[in-house]
Amino acid sequence: MGTSFGRGGATTFQQDLANSDCIVIQGSNMAECHPVGFQWVMEAKARGAKVIHVDPRFTRTSALADIHVPLRAGSDIAFLGGIINYVLEHEKYFREYMLAYTNAATIVNERFAGADELDGVFSGLDRERRSYDVSTWQYEGAEVQAASGKRDQLWAERTRHGVRQSGRGEAHGSGGAEIGTEPRTDETLEHPRCVFQILKRHFARYTPERVEEICGVPREKFLQVCELLTENSGRERTSAFAYAVGWTQHTVGVQYIRTAGILQALLGNIGRPGGGILALRGHASIQGSTDIPTLFNLLPGYIPMPHAHTNEDLATFVEAESAQKGYWGNMKSYLVSLLKAWWGPAATPDNEFRFDYLPRLTGSHSTYETVLEQLDGTCNGYFLMGENPAVGSANAKMQRLGMAALDWLVVRDFSLIESATWWQDGPEIETGELRTEDIATEVFFLPAAAHTEKDGSFTNTQRLLQWHHQAVEPEGDARSDLWFIYHLGRRIREKLAAAARDGTRKEADAERDRPVLDLTWDYPTKGRHAEPEAEAVLAEINGWNADAEPLSTYEQLKDDGSTACGCWIYCGVYAEGVNQAARRKPGTEQNWVASEWAWAWPLNRRILYNRASADPDGKPWSERKAYVWWDAEQEKWTGHDIPDFKATKAPDFEPEEGAKGPDALRGTDAFIMQADGKAWLYVPAGLTDGPLPTHYEPHESPFANLLYGQQRNPVRQLLRHENNRFQPSDGQPGADVFPYVLTTYRLTEHHTAGGMSRWQPYLAELQPELFCEISPELATERGLEHLGWATIVTARTAIEARVLVTDRVSPLRVQGRTLHQVGVPYHWGPNGLSTGDAVNELASMALDPNTHIQEVKALTCDIRPGRRPRGPERVELVERYQREAGITDETGTEV
């Protein structure tokens, strides 16, 4: 989403689904996982919209849809690519929209070669390093920066440092694109290297016949989807897409979403009511946890975390990471204001606002690499807050082995989750792989307060910040996360300050302590437990000027240190000193957009890029789909929502020569975060695995890639370890040992890794134990009985589950063979009221190279009747399977 449109968030809001004429839910089980938001899908259906659910299983979402399209797990790019091909071939795109608001006309430099020419890979692939030289993907005549994603890619070129820096995991620049400002375009769309022609060539092979063979979707059904989607898109009608982790959890996850992005941009469905792409987040504040990130590679507001480049200063960083045009052109203001919020008076122009205090990346430090670092002994301590990796992470065994190598582990949760008890009763204790007495990890379990027991905000799926007030005091020793972090920081600072005073700290250490000691850490507290005021944190996130007055928009941010702001995209949430997130004006007292209910970033805009809801002249594309338009009399943008555009910039505005940042955007540049103001059909920068989505088979697949010689994503991220071995794919010896496709999912009745649900009697009784879902045909083939036990085996482990035989899982016809799929919900672990084996034990650490997200939505397995062996025999069973399939450390690691 970020690289296609400019921001890593849903382009629309759930209530707006009611205005859709067609809703495609794919990679999401919205009715089960987002039941409250699903009411707007039902509302759209009641108004006559068509609802299409594309999913390997018939779920509660399918039950309410007009059409359910079962497809093979892991084949979505082929399916969506097929629709793109249909749109291009039958000229079903919204031509005026596409020309005005996308980069269809932009010409790509001549060094670029596509997957259609290179049998499934793009130009610039370095097979040794398993990475791309992305400079060959740039536009002709201009070098643009991505609005999100891997912005460090062209660090060397952008900063004119010719030497590749050591320890840079993400950047692989060499050669040199010309640095210019305006890329060349061809408005006739006929230039062979314009994006539109490249797109046509790239997707030409995604025919209905290929879709049928790859996805197992009969072509009539596929064409029915194509027709419904295109009939319901254009000037008068709009269609929406909703996806969730069914798309992200793949080794090509980002490219799944990109495919939908291309389709929606071609059809003119972005920035318009009833259109858009709704990224349904996994739980309550996941959007918030990327906005103010718990991710290793981002600072608040999607500012990239600096890499460990030698001698990099603030100016070099900004030069490398910001854009010439669009709102990322002001990155220095956002960053300096962030540094002022964190280090206050200690951050001055003379010391570059303490840019040197920021941590530096030396490579990828995702949760999975961290496990390897634990095993290597470089990571010795670990905080788990609201996370249960012993159940919830792929290859959960590796997570436990990593934790067993730590010095200390702090688990904060309100249930005694498996990540806190693995050392006494985990699966490895049972198999004998670990012995409690040998584990040196000191484990601390601290009870956590629930959201009803504290003040704070959730940022939901639609970028909406909603404030919640404390209802009751937490029981016993339970405390809020805010309390814990604040007081932990306070105590550490007191200790360091004392050590500095009495001279017991070495000089080098004292230097290292200064970023901590200089932090602004002075939040007011209340009550007998000295609970920090959550609203004071919100005020700091919002920011203030030199006179300590709250800011109301990020346009006020300065790069001279006169403003402080903890997260530039949240600027305005505390405008006029009022907690805007706490607003609760009922929907009946305002228009349908309900701008006065809580607050959405950025600047309370509910549909992003809504300038595109009007034509280039500023008039609504149609009366039916009017949303934001140019009022020539008042000389400003107006409409139902707050314009996602400079309010007074006329549609015919042309920037002056040499203008920079937002001033360089034209009156028609609706995608204001993008370096060229356009939605990107083709991504010249920001992605590690290709400028266009390409169908690759999952890392482990029972099928060969029918479209290309390249079987899998060549730059997928594989973490190698003897406990993380991979299985052979189709065409390799031993592939038939794991003949079935396995996919994981969630149920309405439980919450992710179970910490919030398996201990709740009212939820536990609704889904009391782990089960797997299989078709009657597979049950017959493998002798599995309804409600009996099954053992599911991969190269990692074997788990057991009760069997539900159901028509909701149907065999598919793929490449002339019958494919059976096995569905398993992943909520369970051995603790709690409702128990079962942890399904993520089965998955491997094979990751998307952009996001480092694991592939758990499509892998291969075997399934057999009966319970799994106990004790050491469980390990022996897995070893037997490995031997039978001829698995070594090298299996599956081919580029």
Partner: protein, 312 residues
């Protein structure tokens, strides 16, 4: 056989001179997403205990049926039939009392279709429906309660008062739907109160409040019946001819339900009795028979006595 009476005013009949309109539930099963929020909200609000961690294998239904500790129950029915065609393929000779004994879910042996029933074709649908106490116009449970624990509220609903119930259990076989049930550890009878405590405070019942898709609608029964009628028409026009109401007819065997349903198949498919009858319907006639039988017996006894005397 007596015929059911036309719509009445159950609260007025129970002696409330000035009372609010009769309140009830309209459960539109066509928009139910099976999230079970109603079950959880009900248990939370009414402090109903958890009642068993059993995987039943009946699709996603691990609740099985209404009972003392389950006042809302979501049924899941997997069928090999498309939406728009109607052929339940079921016999209509089910014994209502047997069904009531089973509770409201279709037990696998009785179900027309279970997850493992073989069938043909690609047609498939998954029906979900949230069941609840029907708050009958003619409520047999109330008729048979000897302590007055069960009573008719001013909203026309039927509520058990747990501090009065003596656990006699007469109400349990009296219910034609198998709803009311004795709690094992305390012997008293429990069922949905239509959140009588919330209604008194002007709040809607917890289940209706929690329902995200408005499958459970709460309101004055008159309005709900009107709305339901329109919804059925809309569905018929949209090509769903099998849409029908269940429990909405004031002329049915219980005088119409205070909680009624929009279904997409025969009632038995959802575990509902097809033709429920208030079990106390025949009581007046029975008492007449009892009286005449008693009179006959007495007359016989007298005759025998007299005869005996004569024989002496």
């Amino acid at each position: 056989m007596t015929t059911a009476r036309t719509p009445v005013d159950p609260a007025g009949d129970s002696g409330y001179a000035d009372h609010p309109p009769r309140m009830g539930f309209f459960t539109d099963t066509t928009v139910c997403i099976g999230c079970k929020a109603c079950e959880v909200a009900c248990k939370e609000w009414n402090a109903v205990p958890e009642d068993g961690l059993d995987l039943t294998g009946m699709s996603y239904d691990n609740t099985v049926g209404l009972g003392a500790d389950t006042w809302r129950h979501v049924a899941f029915i997997e069928q090999r039939k498309p939406i728009g065609r109607q052929d339940p393929g079921l016999h209509h000779d089910q014994d209502v009392l047997t069904m009531a004994e089973h509770g409201t879910a279709t037990q696998p042996p009785e179900a027309g279709m279970t997850p493992t029933t073989p069938g043909a074709g690609d047609d498939f649908r998954w029906l979900m429906a949230s069941d609840v106490c029907k708050h009958c116009t003619h409520a047999a449970c109330l008729d048979v309660c000897p302590t007055g624990s069960l009573f008719r509220t001013e909203f026309g609903t039927v509520v058990v008062q747990e501090d009065i119930c003596n656990g006699c259990g007469y109400c349990i076989p009296a219910c034609p739907y198998g709803v009311i049930d004795q709690r094992k550890d305390d012997g008293r009878a429990w069922k949905c109160t239509l959140c009588y405590d919330r209604l008194g405070d002007g709040l809607e019942p917890a289940c209706a409040k929690a329902c995200p898709t408005d499958s459970i609608q709460f309101g004055p029964l008159d309005e709900l019946r009107e709305r339901a009628g329109r919804r059925v028409e809309q569905l018929h026009e949209a090509g769903v001819p099998e849409a029908r109401l269940y429990g909405a007819d004031p002329d049915d065997g219980v005088g119409g339900d205070g909680a009624f349903f929009l279904l997409l198949d025969e009632p038995e498919v959802y575990g509902f009795p097809p033709d429920p009858v208030v079990t106390t319907r025949d009581l007046p006639a029975m008492w007449r028979h009892v009286a005449s039988a008693a009179a006959t017996l007495a007359a016989g006894a007298v005759a025998a006595f007299l005869g005996a005397r004569k024989g002496r």
